[in-house]
């Protein structure tokens, strides 16, 4: 079944490429066309993916992985209503009964255009928090790995089901978003992974608890600034069950609050980004009492990244790019813990990532980078029945990554 689906997709892509090539022969430059004016008319295709080799230098272990391939399908029902979807395969394959791999809908939502600058969305979508929520294509990010702060503190490509409004102001260079989505599930929080495991991502989420999220983006010349926030309940139980666990239920009961701000700068091949994020869970002690998952009260993270494209000002090489970058990240997934929590210093981390992104084509990238990692020591109280064959934990380690990525 899956094989025939892939065959069909490849066939459609081949026919589309052939049609495009024929168009290109007769119309050398047609600036009116869009990328996916496909043979299917109102249905368009796109995608992205990446694979990389990674070596853990201290533990002398290396791996290669096709991290993800995402197929984008868009269908325009009319000039006002469009369906956007993204189907993702992680780690190349999913096998029944075995760990690893994932097939998931990353997005599936309807977009209703109110006017050329304002639209509504409804379905499974990624609320605008952080930078990676909108810029997560492998050709757009530096390094083979997504940055640690927007992976561990702010879960990258965090999508939930709900509805929202996106728009921009007419008088000022400001865009905004506001949405309401299903909330997190604090029962699924896991020590060391922040709020990541509490996401439903579209699968049978409780709608008893909800979250509101909003963002404001401001443009000034080559600068782009954003502030975003999230406030949502984490207990979707019915009151009787919540009472028995001494948890506050309801739409915004036992809340998680997120504040994030970032500034980006782009000019003449130079780019810079700075981001800060904080997650606050004021009733973390209640969650720990109910579920014993060592939920922290506060998580914090931030990074600064600078990069330069050596080909940016070279007319002959303008269609290519060679970026050198360096990024410093600091994060702590247990900045504050409640009285019934156990501190884990390994979650207090600093990372320095440096490397190059070479793009022989704007949508094809070859990446090489090194990530230096420093963490605190392990807490013996958290080492329960440690395996004698477990690899030694190093507070200082480095990782070498080499990979490829595409977007189209």
């Amino acid at each position: 079944m899956f094989k025939s689906l892939i065959t069909t997709v490849i066939l459609i892509c081949f026919i589309q490429d052939t049609a495009s090539a024929q168009q290109n022969q007769s119309l050398p430059i047609d600036s009116s066309r869009t990328q996916f004016s496909s043979i299917l008319g109102r249905t368009t295709f796109g995608g992205y993916g990446n694979a990389f080799y990674s070596r853990d230098n201290k533990n002398e272990y290396a791996s290669v992985n096709l991290e993800r391939f995402v197929l984008l399908v868009t269908h325009k029902f009319n000039n006002k209503i469009t369906l956007f979807s993204e189907l993702e395969v992680e780690d190349a394959k999913v096998e029944g009964g075995k760990e690893g791999g994932e097939i998931a809908l990353e997005q599936f939502y309807l977009k209703f255009d109110l006017n050329p600058s304002t639209y509504l969305v409804a379905g499974l979508f990624i609320p605008r928090i952080g930078i990676l929520s909108e810029d997560h294509l492998p050709t757009q990010i530096f390094g083979n790995e997504r940055n640690q702060v927007e992976t561990k503190v702010l879960p990258a490509t965090w999508r939930e089901i709900g509805a929202g409004i996106y728009g921009k102001l007419n008088r000022l260079p400001i865009s905004f978003s506001a949405c309401i989505v299903n909330g997190l599930n604090s029962e699924n929080f896991e020590h060391g992974t922040g709020i990541r495991e509490g996401r439903a991502e579209g699968r049978t989420a409780s709608a008893n608890n909800l979250a509101i999220q909003g963002s404001v983006q401001y443009y000034k010349g080559n600068f782009k600034a954003q502030i975003s926030g999230y406030y949502g309940g984490t207990v979707g139980l019915v009151p009787r069950e919540a009472d028995s666990l001494q948890l506050t239920s309801g739409a915004f009961g036992t809340p998680v609050m997120i504040t994030e701000a970032n500034i980006q700068y782009f000019s003449k091949g130079f780019s810079g980004k700075i981001l800060g994020a904080m997650i606050s869970i004021p009733e973390a002690s209640d969650i720990n009492r109910a579920y014993a998952n060592n939920t922290p009260e506060t998580e914090t993270g931030g990074y600064i990244e600078v990069a330069y494209n050596f080909f940016a000002n070279n007319v002959k090489l303008k269609s290519k790019a060679l970026h050198a970058f360096v990024r410093y990240e600091t994060l702590n997934l247990n900045s504050n813990i409640p009285g019934n929590g156990i501190i884990d210093h390994t979650l207090d981390q600093q990372h320095i990532v440096t490397g190059i992104n070479y793009l022989p084509n704007p949508n094809v990238v070859v990446k090489m980078d090194v990530r230096f990692q420093h963490t605190g020591n392990q807490n013996p109280d958290l080492l329960i029945n440690p395996s004698p064959t477990a690899p030694k934990y190093y507070t200082d380690n480095s990782f070498f990554n080499l990979g490829i990525g595409v977007a189209f």
């Binding site: 869009t34 990328q35 000034k220 606050s280 004021p282 949508n363």
Partner: protein, 140 residues
């Protein structure tokens, strides 16, 4: 205490954004107010006076799904682009120095060329001419 710290930091960030808004309002680099107009015989007329304080004007023709960006060039000619991303046909946002798409992150220069993918094709461009006190955008 944590809730107080959260509110405090949120207020600081909101204040910073507010300062940015004030700064932008005194800037002449940003696009002006959207100019709403109609289409007559596939042409749009835009008064030259709209460019007295800036080089970029966003036009919203009645009945069109996308806005049009009209830019005054250094040689006093005018360029116009359809603000539709050539990747997945999403609306674009004018940043003052170019255009960006919030859907997949494509970025276009002020001249409509792609500076960051996944878009591969430049923005649709319309022919313009100046007749008396108006700039005429030809949609066909």
């Amino acid at each position: 205490m944590q809730r107080r710290a959260f509110i405090k930091s949120g207020c600081v960030l909101a204040l910073a954004t507010g300062c940015g808004v004030v700064l932008s309002s005194v800037s002449g680099c940003s696009p002006g107010i959207i100019y709403k107009t109609g289409i007559i015989e596939n042409k749009i007329a835009v008064p030259l006076t709209l460019f007295s304080n800036g080089k970029l004007q966003i036009i919203r023709p009645a009945g069109m799904q996308f806005d049009i960006a009209l830019r005054k060039e250094d040689d006093t000619t005018y360029s116009s682009f359809l603000m539709r991303c050539t990747h997945a046909e999403n609306q674009l946002l004018s940043t003052g120095t170019g255009f960006t798409c919030a859907l997949h992150g494509s970025v276009f220069n002020a001249d409509g060329s792609v500076t960051k993918g996944p878009a591969e094709y430049p923005l649709k461009k319309y022919r313009t001419e100046v007749i008396e006190e108006n700039i005429i955008i030809h949609l066909n």
